[in-house]
Symmetry: C2
Subunit: 245 residues, 2 copies
């Protein structure tokens, strides 16, 4: 459950299953019905409000433009992500934390699979929506990078590492998300996303993991060996690194 829908529930506001207030939800439903039937470009805001049975002003109260009705939940999700990262415990492993933040986006998509699949198909067909989506993805990536930059401040290559990890997390998340959307939103999206984010954590999680108090990258030893190297050579090398033996 997102924090904003939780807040709405606490305040006793009526909400649809998608977490959107009813009139907003009616506008989104009308818009998507028309986009699918007539095409995105051929649908006007007037068509949408006529089908939803509300006035133009109601539309623009919720959405600055026709494009925004295609992505009705991203602003809420971006706010949830920012709140989540700001509330991170000091000792949280940073790469794991941004992976968990990315899962909030997945949860938004998984809340309403058929809507998400419809939008995915629409976005692939309309270049303007593709551009809009890229700018949304960029904002998620910058939110993750900003958190990591704070956590890696003062470390060598801190901003570089932050930017690279944020991009890798977004790419992994979107690879798994798109695969789920292409499949028609069937099955459990989170298993695939967990697996994808695991790849990023294994590539980048080790070094930043050693940032907590009392931990140090010196505490971790990494050994990479070819299978055909004799075990005694590996142990010898380990002893040399550990300063024992």
């Amino acid at each position: 459950m997102s924090s904003s829908s939780a807040a709405a529930r606490r305040e006793g506001r009526a909400e649809s299953a998608s977490g959107r207030p009813p009139m907003r939800q009616a506008l989104v439903a009308a818009a998507f019905r028309l986009f699918v039937e007539r095409g995105y470009e051929q649908t006007t805001v007037d068509d949408i409000v006529a089908l939803a049975g509300v006035g133009r002003r109601s539309f623009f109260r919720y959405f600055p433009s026709k494009e925004d009705v295609v992505f009705p939940d991203h602003e809420r999700c971006l706010a949830d992500m920012t709140d989540f990262l700001a509330a991170s415990p000091e000792g949280a492993e940073p790469v794991r934390r941004v992976c968990d933040a990315a899962r909030l986006v997945l949860r938004m998509y998984a809340e309403d699979p058929s809507f998400s699949v419809q939008r995915y198909r629409l976005t692939k067909e309309v270049p303007g929506l593709r551009a809009y989506e890229l700018s949304v993805v960029w904002r998620y990536e910058r939110a993750l990078a900003a958190y990591l930059r704070g956590r890696f401040a003062g470390r060598p290559d801190g901003t570089l590492r932050a930017d690279v990890i944020a991009a890798a997390v977004v790419a992994a998340h979107n690879n798994a998300l798109r695969s789920w959307l292409r499949s028609g939103g069937l099955g459990d999206a989170s298993t695939e996303v967990d697996h994808a984010l695991g790849l990023v954590q294994s590539a980048f999680g080790a070094a930043p993991a050693a940032t907590g108090p009392g931990a140090d990258s010196e505490d971790v030893v990494v050994v990479v060996a070819r299978r055909d190297v004799p075990l005694w050579r590996v142990v010898q090398q380990l002893e040399a690194v550990l300063g024992r033996g």
Copy 2:
């Protein structure tokens, strides 16, 4: 030197230092002078052609829209990148190869530092240009990912790994490129970019390096251990993984 400017030289066509034909170069120069003096939004295509002393048709022969004149070399650079990746030797280490492909973008920026710095400042100020730039960056990323997907085809997590590495390469390249642009285009951009791409190669280069004939990821064993774990536990674990002992 890019392959397209090399081709122009072979054909004896006149070219400016930036690798652009003279009339195209005159249009770009006129456009940027006006963008800086009046602002991007306040400058029309008519203003640009008047200053350059050419007709409107000449403008649209080179540029589909006003936005395109801000990024006059990306299409050439994208084509160069695609050619470069298509011409990759079969045994090329894939992560190294996409890093080298990314360096083609850097070279384009470094060909004309003052122009690149002007554009960087303009792009930061004009939201429409920012969106345009995101779509260009996305196309570079997909070109790198497409090559990697081909190289990793049939491997577990091949497309996932390809997408993550492509995103990481682009993020590292752009982190270093932007730092150079922010500094006003002073000094050698390539040192910083090499360092940034080195981080990606060290994170991802090892596993895909084992793709040559006769090599297999099964051949490599990676052990990560905390320093405070007794050596015998590490050796025990190694023996278990290697199936010996």
